[in-house]
Symmetry: C2
Subunit: 204 residues, 2 copies
């Protein structure tokens, strides 16, 4: 049996309930830690669940950020420096990754607060997360603003990709399940995955 919630009923929910409900509607989410550093050298690390593929040539990724949220230090640093890293959350670090969503002061690094390790590679300006098995560096390309609520879509071009060597499979993709990458639901659920099947390119 199906339950029906209409727009008015959703609007009448208490704020925190509505936020949790609406966040459960988009399905399983990727979980990534975005690493940045300010002009002054202060590092920042924050969990995001909204990474999207934008294109392969050039290789572009986007993510959604609310300007008025705890995520704002990440955006400030990206605007200042133009560089950031994306690091997959895996089952060994999901509790530390979740903890980065707490509202730490600007001068407190989430690396220090959570015990995750900042590592710099090949002179790239922003820090990677050493405990992550898939690490990506990006250069900012553009930021689009959603008029309705000032949410941002931040788009970057992939510069470098580091991954555990054994997870590159014979078809040329990263086997992210083998890499321990996990999936999220709503704002608080953490899930492992199990492959059902990979399907062939579909033809009519």
């Amino acid at each position: 049996m199906f339950t029906h919630f209409d727009n008015r009923l959703i609007g009448d929910l208490e704020d925190r309930n509505r936020t949790a409900l609406i966040n459960s509607l988009s399905g399983f989410k990727n979980l990534n830690l975005i690493g940045t550093v300010s002009q002054k050298g202060q590092t920042n690390l924050a969990i995001f669940n909204s990474l999207v593929h934008i294109g392969a040539n050039p290789p572009l990724m986007g993510f959604i950020s609310r300007p008025d949220s705890v995520e704002k230090h990440t955006i400030e640093n990206i605007r200042e420096t133009g560089f950031y890293t994306v690091n997959h959350v895996n089952k060994n670090i999901f509790e530390q990754a979740h903890q980065t969503s707490a509202r730490y002061e600007r001068d407190r690094s989430e690396f220090d607060a959570t015990g995750l390790t900042a590592v710099y590679k090949n002179n790239f300006r922003a820090p990677f997360v050493q405990e992550s098995n898939i690490q990506i560096s990006l250069e900012l390309k553009e930021i689009l603003t959603v008029k309705t609520n000032n949410t941002l879509l931040v788009i970057g071009e992939i510069q470098d990709l580091y991954f555990l060597s054994e997870i590159l499979d014979e078809s040329g993709i990263l086997d992210i399940e083998k890499g321990g990458t996990i999936a999220g639901s709503s704002l608080d659920g953490y899930h492992t995955t199990e492959l059902i099947k990979r399907l062939q390119y579909a033809k009519p």
Copy 2:
């Protein structure tokens, strides 16, 4: 041990390999069927893996669409009518859902081609997928264009939500794992999930 691919190596990959690789980098993806209808009454159904939460009040969702791809019929219909549905893909229908990505002609409905059932509810203009356990109707609010490669971010406001009654949990969210919703990887992987844990709201 880590392997390093730099921007130049990625750029030198064969097109199809690069597309598959880059699509594997954003982590696990949601899988949703978007249902639309043209002005003339021709239905369309297409699988998307890029739904993002945009806001809870008003309740907004976005998705990414490539204008030059098989996804273009979906965008054309949304522009014509202003309405569409989002339907979670579950483990019973993932093969049919994948098949909607084939390049069918404009006058061929993917509902007919795949055997999924179009259902209309409460006079909403676009069709839902009857076999989906979480069905959402949306009204178009805005479309943003990524300058770098003309990819679109399509944003809609949630109008109605239909879900299997038993999956609304005591905290007020939909238990999407219980609803059979699955996760995707790269362009061809389909995965079930298993909850590790739900975590408390994080505080410093």
